[in-house]
């Protein structure tokens, strides 16, 4: 019989110590120390994060963590955001809700990303979890306002309802009135994605008025400008606010009403919305600008002069999302006014136009990199780039953790030298030693992947498109990037060799996506057969892959590690390669 060590702590003490450990990585490490720690830890884990809903089954999660209160699930691969994953691929949340509803009723928080959520799922949530508090649906689809009505009606303790970037079937705006008059616990509401044109303003107003703890309110486009004042009047405690449409006939009374109400919101730190904005109403927000740390103007089609004026009023800005109307000149002003800037995202106003419509080039990014010492995260769409600029950026801003550059025309070379941008991106990975996420674009050869494999040791996510010359490129990445978890590739000449040679690496990653590349069906079958802990999914809308020669490239390939085995909810255009694929190599 195993004698307990004299110096070991009682379980309760360990549990108490573990309660201070919040990060999943740390908790996973704790659980590996010894059997008794594994046991203690699993009983007291309250938050579970499942990065790929098909990596594990709901039953497995519930069996291991019997008392979690909060779950976060992610479904479709990232490229689903850009229409590369056909509809019906998967990512259904219902099986998870059904299992959890049966297991225990005290679940409090559900956070989902890129999953298919049906009204049935929402109704089941509303019915099953009495103390339900937080529902965050990010880039989800499949539900309607009916499902939301069920949540509103039943979840008496709901604190957070956040629908960011979801596709919701807007049947009726009256779902808001399903919140009972006695309901007051709302802290955060984000309905910015709802399209309904007849929003229920009075229900919204009444809701805001009685929820005195409301800190975050993001309205949708349908809420007109002149209604905002009425809503804000009852919520001066708001910290984050998203307007609806920011346009109206210019009327001094509407303006002063709005300006007055905004200036009474002393806690406001974040603004967003600004659909259809007209410059005349912008000064209304100037009084709150000095406290703003986050500003999302990515729907605002105002031009550079107005953007510059606005930005110069916000010296404490840490996060800015904006359209490329800001132009290089605006970014220069940003660089000199906002020394606390940490994150910048510049979106294209005319991404499908053949010629540039604004004067936004690599210079803007250089200016911000030189001027903002705390800048660590960038998403930048532009039409030209040079190695020189990238080297300058890398040298001046080695603290980048996320660097995503999208040069709009694929395979665009360095505009000064007409060379590939290998050296430029090489500098980024060499100097930015903490880089966790990188997106490449422009003309790139295998060389850039050599650099990445050599230097990007902390890189966790890499996005590649229209780059590289041969399998060597992919090999460099798979063999060199030690921290790599997610790799997504499209339209690159990568084939079987690199993939098969680095098969073991795939088990250390969450997932690999390859579309319009050169991986053959035979290689997929081999991989599926040899690697039982990988799900190798071939997605091909042209028809069954075995109706073509085995050495034919597959259309799309999605490989992910899983202990749940192959899934059973696949649509007809998805095939899983497993041990039974009947492998026959030619």
């Amino acid at each position: 019989m195993h004698k307990k060590m004299a110096f070991s702590f009682p379980d309760e003490v360990l549990e108490h110590v573990f309660s201070f450990i919040q990060s999943d990585k740390d908790r996973n490490a704790v659980s590996m120390v010894c059997k008794s720690w594994y046991e203690i830890e699993r009983w007291c884990r309250r938050k579970v994060f499942v990065g790929n809903c098909y990596a594990v089954s709901p039953r497995m999660v519930i069996r291991r963590f019997p008392e979690f209160r909060s779950i976060e699930l992610k479904g479709k691969p990232h490229f689903a955001d850009f229409n590369l994953v056909p509809d019906g691929w998967g990512g259904y949340v219902f099986p998870w809700i059904a299992e959890m509803a049966g297991a225990y009723p005290w679940l409090e928080e559900i956070r989902l990303k890129r999953m298919v959520v049906t009204d049935e799922s929402l109704e089941l949530i509303a019915k099953s979890f009495k103390n339900f508090k937080v529902l965050v649906l990010s880039s989800c689809e499949g539900f309607s306002t009916d499902g939301l009505a069920a949540i509103a009606a039943s979840c008496k303790n709901l604190k957070e309802l956040d629908l960011r970037d979801c596709e919701v079937d807007d049947l009726s705006a009256h779902w808001l009135s399903h919140f009972p008059e006695t309901y007051t616990s709302l802290v955060s509401l984000n309905i910015s994605c709802l399209g309904s044109d007849e929003a229920s303003f009075s229900a919204l107003e009444r809701l805001v008025r009685r929820c005195t703890n409301l800190k975050t309110l993001r309205l949708n486009r349908a809420v007109p400008l002149d209604k905002i004042a009425n809503i804000l009047r009852h919520a001066p405690q708001l910290v984050e606010f998203g307007t609806g449409t920011y346009t109206a006939d210019v009327r001094p009374d509407v303006y002063s009403d709005l300006a007055g109400v905004l200036s009474s919101c002393k806690e406001l730190k974040s603004l967003s919305g600004f659909w259809d904005v007209i410059p005349d109403y912008l000064p209304a927000i100037y009084p709150v600008c000095s406290k703003l740390t986050s500003l999302n103007l990515s729907y605002a089609t105002i031009q550079s002069p107005d953007l510059i004026k606005l930005v110069s009023h916000c010296p404490n800005l840490q996060r800015l999302l904006v359209l490329d109307y800001i132009e290089d000149s605006g970014l220069e002003v940003l660089a000199s006014s906002c020394k606390d800037l940490q994150e910048l995202r510049v979106f294209p106003s005319d991404p499908f136009g053949a010629e540039p419509n604004v004067s936004l080039t690599e210079q803007g990014l250089v200016a911000v990199s030189l001027g903002c010492p705390k800048l660590q995260s960038v998403l930048y769409f532009c039409r030209r780039m040079s190695n020189e600029a990238l080297v300058t950026i890398a040298r001046s801003r080695p603290n980048f953790t996320r660097f995503r550059l999208c040069i709009i025309e694929p395979k665009t070379a360095d505009y000064l030298t007409l060379e590939p941008l290998d050296v430029g991106f090489g500098a980024i990975v060499q100097y930015c030693k903490d880089l966790r996420r990188l997106s490449l674009s422009g003309l790139l050869t295998d060389r850039v992947f050599e650099y990445i494999g050599t230097y990007a040791k902390k890189l966790e996510m890499l996005s590649v498109a229209f780059a590289g010359d041969s399998d060597l490129g992919l090999h460099h990445v798979l063999s060199g990037c030690e921290s790599l978890r997610k790799l997504e590739i499209r339209d690159c000449p990568f084939g079987d060799k690199a993939l098969l040679a680095n098969a073991a690496k795939l088990e250390t990653m969450r997932s690999l996506w390859m579309s319009s590349c050169a991986v053959s069906f035979a290689a997929c079958k081999l991989l599926g057969q040899k690697m039982p802990r990988l799900n190798v999914e071939v997605i091909d809308e042209r028809g069954p892959p075995d109706s073509r020669p085995e050495n034919c490239p597959v259309d799309k390939l999605y490989i992910y590690r899983s202990i749940a085995g192959p899934r059973f909810d696949m649509p007809p255009f998805v095939w899983t390669m497993d041990e039974d694929s009947g492998l026959r190599l030619s």
Partner: protein, 227 residues
């Protein structure tokens, strides 16, 4: 120009273990991707292989001779014949494009902009029904935005502005001055604003009431004042 990067490239030793068939590293390196390519190329010549909608080369003309390998990327063509089950969720980039001429040049999912953001963008720039020429770039029937091209003599970039954003000639010219003086240092008195109306005539801006101007302007040009 020399870029003093000083990046030490990895030596071939890194490729140890890459070779699946024990053929030796050098052989593999020499092959580079060519052999894999030719294999794939062979497959595409094979008539059993479903013809891709467009080859990579057709899609991206700016492929230089320096490219060693023949690119052969399978076009993940979204068959247009198939019916669209749900609305825009399934819509590819090419079906939502404004201009028919551009449709063939569009690549699925590129540039990488989220679907909902593209939708907003398209709502803001709906094409005018039945319009062949695209001077008046886009007009939204709900009157939300009207985009008009503005060119200035001597400046390369043609800008597009939303006319609906302004409510008077004054606010329009103020904004244009600020926008264009960045590109070209000039004295504002040296220039006049002209516009092309529905009939195709070029007129000096300012003569007709603002609202009439908004509905009739097709495009604008800032020209030197010789008067």
């Amino acid at each position: 120009m020399e870029l003093q990067l000083g990046l030490a490239l990895p030596t071939p030793n890194m490729l140890k273990g890459f070779d699946l068939n024990n053929h030796g590293l050098d052989q593999l390196k020499e092959m580079g991707g060519l052999e894999a390519w030719n294999k794939a190329a062979g497959c595409f010549a094979d008539k059993d292989c479903v013809k891709s909608k467009r080859s990579f080369e057709q899609a991206f003309g700016n492929f230089t001779e320096e490219c060693r390998t023949k690119p052969l990327l399978l076009w993940s063509g979204q068959p247009n014949e198939e019916e669209d089950h749900k609305d825009q969720k399934k819509a590819t980039f090419s079906t939502t494009d404004e201009n028919d001429a551009e449709e063939d040049d569009q690549v699925v999912g590129w540039p990488p902009i989220k679907t909902w953001r593209k939708k907003i963008f398209q709502q803001q720039q709906q094409p005018r029904v039945g319009r062949a020429e695209n001077n008046r770039v886009a007009e939204n029937e709900n009157g939300r935005s009207i985009y008009v091209k503005v060119k200035m003599e001597g400046v390369a970039i043609t800008r597009k502005i939303d006319i609906k954003v302004y409510h008077s000639y004054q606010s329009l010219t103020n904004s244009l001055i600020t926008m264009f003086t960045k590109d070209k240092k000039c004295n504002e008195d040296d220039y006049i604003l002209t516009y092309q109306d529905k009939e195709g005539d070029w007129l000096i801006a300012g003569d007709i009431p603002w609202q009439n101007f908004v509905t009739s302007v097709q495009r604008m040009e800032i020209v030197k004042n010789w008067g």
